[in-house]
């Protein structure tokens, strides 16, 4: 997605672009759910419905040379970083045209040219690599930032601690975006983390932490810019403590038996980032409908593209093991 003017608050046209991208992610994810239920999609799928403002707000603040790594819940990040929906959908269908050429799948999305260095199905798995990527940028004096997405649950894994500690110690240009959606799979926050504010985690490293409202794309965008400026300016890494909500199950098909009855309904009513942004920019019904039509076409097109894609040959499995 094209780069736009930066620093300071997002302009009205920019917010409209954000809206469009967030809606695209939403519709894409809904389509994923639908196609999964139709039995068309192999693998384990995790959608990010409710967390679209984080993906878009963060990724739109990035420069072209900046890179990201993500998690099992990476569709939104990947789209926001610039991968075409066709290539993403083709990957979910396991096609050669997919962004990982059918070798990765939903939990292993890559688009290196676009700066997407990999979704990771091991919680915390990408974090030290972001530290190392940022170290390489520092070594080479490149004004680039490496950014990691991860969840609240990931703050419990040792890898998280080591990776952030090292990043701070070495003052590398990295940004660590914690999407605190209050659950790790079925495990509510209070059952997995002894601290409620994820910013407390950053104190252990003396890392600058910024609290962000993840349902407000403007807030995400502005604070990501601050974080990037800080990191790019050689002042060390930043921890973005983004509070957000997962407005759906952990995985596609999750019956969510662990969730209080009304929680989901209430959150959907009050915490939908798309509704919030719509209100903020005052988008009329007609405008929305037209946008939705356009986006639905793109998403439907991605399914068509994917289905028409090329299945790998069985023996293709033997390629790409060694360089």
């Amino acid at each position: 997605m094209a780069k736009v003017e930066k620093k300071g608050a997002a302009s009205e046209p920019l917010l409209r672009e954000f809206f469009r991208e967030m809606l695209l992610i939403r519709r894409f994810e809904e389509k994923v759910e639908e196609r999964f239920r139709a039995g068309e999609l192999p693998g384990f799928l995790h959608v990010a419905i409710g967390q679209e403002a984080v993906a878009v707000g963060v990724c739109r603040a990035l420069d072209d040379g900046d890179v990201i790594m993500s998690t099992h819940r990476a569709h939104g990040h990947t789209l926001a970083k610039g991968t075409h929906p066709n290539e993403l959908m083709a990957e979910l269908y396991g096609k050669l045209e997919g962004c990982s050429h059918g070798y990765g799948g939903s939990m292993h999305l890559y688009d290196v040219e676009k700066g997407m260095l990999g979704a990771n199905a091991v919680v915390g798995g990408g974090l030290p690599q972001i530290t190392g990527t940022a170290l390489a940028f520092k070594f080479r004096g490149e004004p680039r930032v490496a950014l990691a997405f991860f969840g609240d649950g990931a703050t419990n894994i040792g890898t998280f601690h080591e990776a952030l500690n090292l990043a701070q110690l070495w003052q590398v240009p990295a940004v660590f975006v914690c999407e605190n959606n209050w659950y790790a799979e079925s495990t509510p926050h209070a059952q997995h983390s002894p601290v409620r504010s994820m910013s407390d985690r950053a104190v252990a490293f003396g890392m600058k932490a910024i609290k962000v409202d993840g349902q407000d794309v403007e807030d995400v965008y502005a604070n990501t810019q601050r974080a990037l400026d800080h990191a790019r300016g050689g002042n060390g890494p930043v921890f973005l403590d983004v509070e957000t909500y997962r407005l759906t199950g952990h995985y596609v098909g999750d019956p969510q038996v662990y969730r209080p009855k009304d929680e989901l309904r209430e959150l959907r009513e009050t915490q939908d980032p798309i509704d919030k942004l719509r209100e903020r920019i005052g988008l009329g019904d007609d405008e929305l409908e037209e946008l939705d039509r356009e986006i639905t076409e793109i998403v439907d097109g991605s399914v068509e593209f994917a289905k028409a894609g090329t299945d790998p040959k069985p023996e293709d499995a033997l390629k790409n093991v060694y360089a």
Binding site: G102, M107, E315
Partner: protein
């Protein structure tokens, strides 16, 4: 004899042990309300409460370590590692700690912890959710290693693992949870270190573990139709290995195939081949054939996944290679 699934069999062993014995408890990620990512512990929270069906944060190292600590106090914790691939995060505790405390203390300590995990291909989990790493653990003195293939075995072996005074790493295979089988009304513990011969045969011994036991049985049936009589041998306990039964079997059949889902190179099959060629050298009419996954990470696209991991047809081919040789 009631018929239950492999999943239910695991749950039954855990539940019965917990009913009888306050020292047994289970912990792991999402094992409480959700009942585990494979549904194994479903319903156990209601019966035993959150202290003994203990949901944990994503801390593979610490939960194994906590299990070790509790075990050293005489408890019998069963720790679930959601996917075998995540063993890589807890190996320090399993290999340097659980396996060695007894030895390093000159016999002062026991570590009766059981570490359950599951893995395997099927449903395109991709390269980080499907490895078969049992061979690693077999290489570590101080550990016992189990890989069960049927409901009856998984229940009897898990019971024995829980009550074994040593750390046991207990492998389950994802695609087996749904299979059904008859089990005795009461649990009959199965001694660790005793193999099971699923099927007697005369012409070739197929040593198989986990999912491949079932592939081997299917292959055996086909082979029989072609006049080749196949013995299917499941070690069940990979360490200690029932070497005597293994060698006896091969001495009878004079041929051996070993089959597992893990990649061939450096897999458990290498150990079996090494043991067999040594123990039955003069009896072997053909080299030991190894069947396993191709030497690649597990690819996502189903057509490639299918190609990479071994099936009954691969076992059958290996059987024919061994008998064809001298035929």
């Amino acid at each position: 004899m009631p018929e239950i699934s492999y999943r239910e069999a695991v749950r039954d062993a855990l539940s019965r042990a917990m009913r009888e014995d306050d020292d047994v408890f289970v912990m792991g990620e999402d094992i409480a309300e959700m009942g585990g990512s494979m549904g194994v512990t479903q319903g156990m929270l209601d019966e035993f409460g959150p202290e003994r069906v203990r949901n944990t944060p994503i801390s593979e190292m610490a939960i194994v370590g906590a299990g070790i600590g509790a075990a050293m106090q005489g408890m019998r914790p069963v720790v679930e590692i959601m996917y075998e691939d995540f063993l890589t995060l807890s190996l320090e505790q399993i290999v340097n700690q659980a396996a060695k405390h007894r030895y390093m203390s000159g016999g002062q300590l026991k570590v009766p912890v059981t570490i359950r995990t599951q893995g395997g291909a099927g449903w395109s989990p991709g390269a980080q959710h499907a490895q078969q790493l049992e061979a690693w653990l077999v290489h570590i003195p101080g550990l016992k290693v189990v890989f069960a293939s049927t409901p009856e075995d998984v229940r009897g072996l898990l019971w024995s693992a829980i009550y074994d005074d040593n750390p046991v790493v207990f492998f389950e295979h994802r695609t087996l949870y749904g299979i059904k089988g008859e089990v005795p009304e009461e649990i009959e513990p199965i001694e660790l270190g005793k193999a099971r011969i699923h099927r007697q045969g005369e012409d070739v011994t197929v040593v198989a573990t986990g999912r491949l036991v079932h592939e081997a049985l299917a292959a055996a049936q086909e082979a029989e139709a072609q006049g080749v009589s196949v013995e299917v041998f499941d070690p069940r306990t990979l360490q200690p290995l029932d070497e005597r039964a293994l060698i006896d079997s091969v001495k009878k059949t004079n041929r051996c195939v070993v089959a597992h889902e893990a990649v061939v190179r450096g897999g458990y099959g290498a150990e079996i081949a090494a043991v067999v060629q040594h123990g039955a050298f003069d009896w072997l009419d053909a080299p030991v054939e190894r069947v396993g996954a191709k030497f690649v990470p597990l690819p996502f696209a189903p057509v490639m996944e299918e190609f990479v991991v071994p099936h009954a047809a691969d076992v059958l081919e290996a059987i024919y290679r061994t008998v064809g040789r001298t035929a």
